[in-house]
């Protein structure tokens, strides 16, 4: 039996508040995502979907409980170790932070290597970036700046960037939110296909019922209170 990609036990998180209002809190009793699995997170705005992604990414610290991601128990890691773990083991596709404007598409794909010297930017890494761009239909557009690409193309570059470090898990926060249905389907198909080929676990946040319908396993974040609903 393989180790799950994500294991959460009695996970608690609350944003600190200076008022006496009830703070936003997230509680996840038990939750497991198997390696290579595909899970869609959904729920109303403000329910904590992005917070959960940030907890998994190690951006936010846990208040209580345990969270194991890609074989590492996050509670035991320092900030620097969490950052290193994040850049080595996780890939991100964001709606809000698409690409770096002044870098070419190719350099955007290689961006994670520039940010952490622990990742070696060698010939195989460059080949991987080229292959990913080619597989995503952008083989001839690697030299273009994001401003010269369509929105769908920009999101495909973001997918390539998420996968170029060969992560164990890809976290995608509404990756198709700005796209029309046809482009949304195309981008999502490519993302799923590439994750499946590479055995990468995919955690995706979406509001779109059409997107959620493609996923066998879903998690309603706003109702995180019982093990029955939390997990595939």
């Amino acid at each position: 039996m393989t180790t799950p990609a994500i294991v959460a036990h009695d996970l608690h998180f609350a944003y600190p508040t200076r008022t006496h209002d009830t703070p936003f809190a997230l509680h996840l009793p038990v939750w497991e995502v198997p390696r290579g699995g595909r899970v869609a997170l959904y729920g109303p705005s403000g329910c904590g979907k992005s917070t959960l992604l940030n907890l998994i990414a190690g951006v936010l610290p846990l208040a209580r409980g345990s969270l194991e991601v890609a074989g590492r128990q996050l509670r035991n890691l320092s900030d620097a170790e969490r950052r290193a773990h994040r850049i080595r083991s996780l890939g991100f596709v964001f709606q809000d932070y698409p690409l770096v404007d002044h870098l070419s598409a190719f350099e955007n794909v290689l961006f994670p290597f520039r940010l952490n010297p622990a990742l070696r930017l060698d010939a195989p890494a460059r080949t991987r970036a080229s292959t990913l761009l080619h597989d995503l239909g952008l083989g001839d557009k690697g030299g273009r700046r994001p401003s010269a690409l369509s929105q769908g193309e920009r999101q495909r570059v973001a997918i390539a960037r998420a996968l170029v470090t060969r992560p164990a898990i890809v976290l995608a926060d509404e990756p198709t939110a700005g796209l029309d249905p046809a482009r949304s389907t195309a981008v999502l198909t490519l993302l799923e296909q590439l994750c499946e080929e590479r055995g990468v676990t995919l955690l995706l946040v979406s509001h779109d019922p059409a997107v959620l319908a493609r996923f066998e396993h879903t998690l309603e974040v706003g109702a995180l209170s019982s093990t029955d609903e939390a997990g595939p």
Binding site: Y97, D101, F111, R114
Partner: protein
């Protein structure tokens, strides 16, 4: 090292992505660095150049009046002194044991360059050597300073005509053709910008020492004059406008050389005692004044320094406002790039890496601005040297 390399690349790509904005930042920063730097260095260079000349000119004796005019005329051959003094003053000073007294008569020019009437002692005291040709030996000969020879393409054997001192003075002297016998080696002083002649030659330019055709009884205004009585020449008589082997002996003056004019006398006292005595002797003189050029130049520089202080303050304000502008542009730029910087942190970059990248960007702009400012300063100082050489012959 690898982090620095990646940060440098990212910084370079960012700066290159907006060349206009980067150029404006570099130019503004360079200007803020250049202005105070250049002002300070230029003022220092002017001070050094002016004081160096003054230090080698212990005492200047001239007529009572404006000591600045006297100094500018005697040291830098600029302007004129209003009242000349008698040539005999130099001999009187030497006779009193105050040291070598070198007459300077700076009132004529040739091609716009001053023709300095003096003695060979001047060239010795200034350590001026002949680079080609020889020193003037007879009336009508001049030696050219290095700069003036270069400007007028003069070499030994060439001639140069003196300038007409006053076009509207019909009683004035005619321009005289002067023979260049030699060219002085460059000294980096005002001496490079002048012609030097024996003081008698400059009196020829005055017309005081002159030559003309022999006055015959028939041409004279008083043909009935008795034998032995002077004949009075008419204005139609031909005045020599060139001093040749043939007519040189005919040049003469009416009176004593001791009373002929010189602008000033440069005195080189042999010791401090002679120096102080000379100053003391002339401190209360009715007609003459003895000035210390160092003091006069320092007074002039005092004004320059005050201007420099004002300029430094002004340019410091510009530098401060530019720095504020730079910080503003940087902070606005960081705000515009917030999504990029957040992205960096979200996907695993440390804050130190973000700070390193931004720091390298700032460093690149500052280094480029520093290089630009240095280049501009060096170029500006070269232009200043040329301007100083042209204006007062120093630099």
């Amino acid at each position: 090292m690898s982090a620095l390399r990646h940060a440098s690349l990212l910084a370079w790509w960012y700066l290159r992505s907006a060349p206009g904005r980067t150029a404006v930042l570099v130019c503004c920063t360079a200007l803020a660095l250049f202005l105070p730097l250049f002002t300070a260095l230029a003022a220092e260079r002017v001070e050094t150049a002016l004081l160096a000349r003054a230090h080698t000119s212990p005492i200047l004796l001239g007529h009572q009046g404006n000591e600045f005019d006297l100094t500018m005329n005697g040291l830098y051959f600029r302007g004129e002194v209003r009242d000349p003094i008698a040539f005999g003053t130099a001999a009187a000073i030497e006779a009193s044991g105050y040291g070598d007294a070198v007459p300077l008569y700076v009132t004529h020019s040739a091609g716009g360059a001053p023709v300095v009437g003096t003695t060979l002692a001047y060239l010795e005291h200034r350590a001026l050597n002949v680079a080609s040709g020889r020193l003037p030996a007879v009336l009508g000969e001049v030696v050219a300073g290095a700069q003036v020879a270069r400007d007028f393409h003069l070499s030994p054997g060439d001639t140069v005509r003196s300038d007409l001192s006053n076009l509207y003075n019909i009683a004035g002297a005619y321009p005289i053709l002067l023979k260049v016998t030699g060219v002085l080696a460059a000294s980096g002083t005002p001496d490079d910008t002048a012609f030097f002649a024996d003081v008698k030659t400059t009196w020829v330019l005055d017309g005081t020492l002159h030559g003309h055709d022999t006055v015959t009884r028939a041409q004279s205004l008083n043909p009935e004059a008795e034998d032995g009585e002077n004949l009075e020449a008419t204005a139609a008589i031909f005045m020599f406008q060139e001093i040749t082997e043939k007519n040189r002996g005919g040049f003469h003056l009416h009176g004593s050389t001791d009373n002929l004019p010189v602008s000033s006398v440069l005195v080189f006292p042999p010791n401090a005692r002679a120096h102080d005595q000379l100053l003391g002797d002339y401190a209360l003189h009715e007609d003459l004044q003895a000035v210390r050029p160092v003091v006069v130049v320092r007074t002039i520089l005092g004004i320059v320094l005050r201007v420099r202080e004002g300029l430094t303050l002004y340019f410091s304000a510009i530098a401060a406002s530019t720095l504020a502008f730079f910080v503003l542009v940087l902070s606005l730029s960081l705000r515009l790039r917030r999504s990029e910087l957040q992205l960096m942190q979200r996907i695993g970059s440390s804050r130190s890496m973000v700070a390193l990248m931004v720091g390298v960007e700032v460093l690149m702009v500052v280094v480029a601005a520093g290089a630009t400012a240095t280049f501009a300063t060096v170029a500006g100082l070269s232009l200043l040297d040329a301007a100083l050489a042209g204006a007062i012959g120093v630099g």
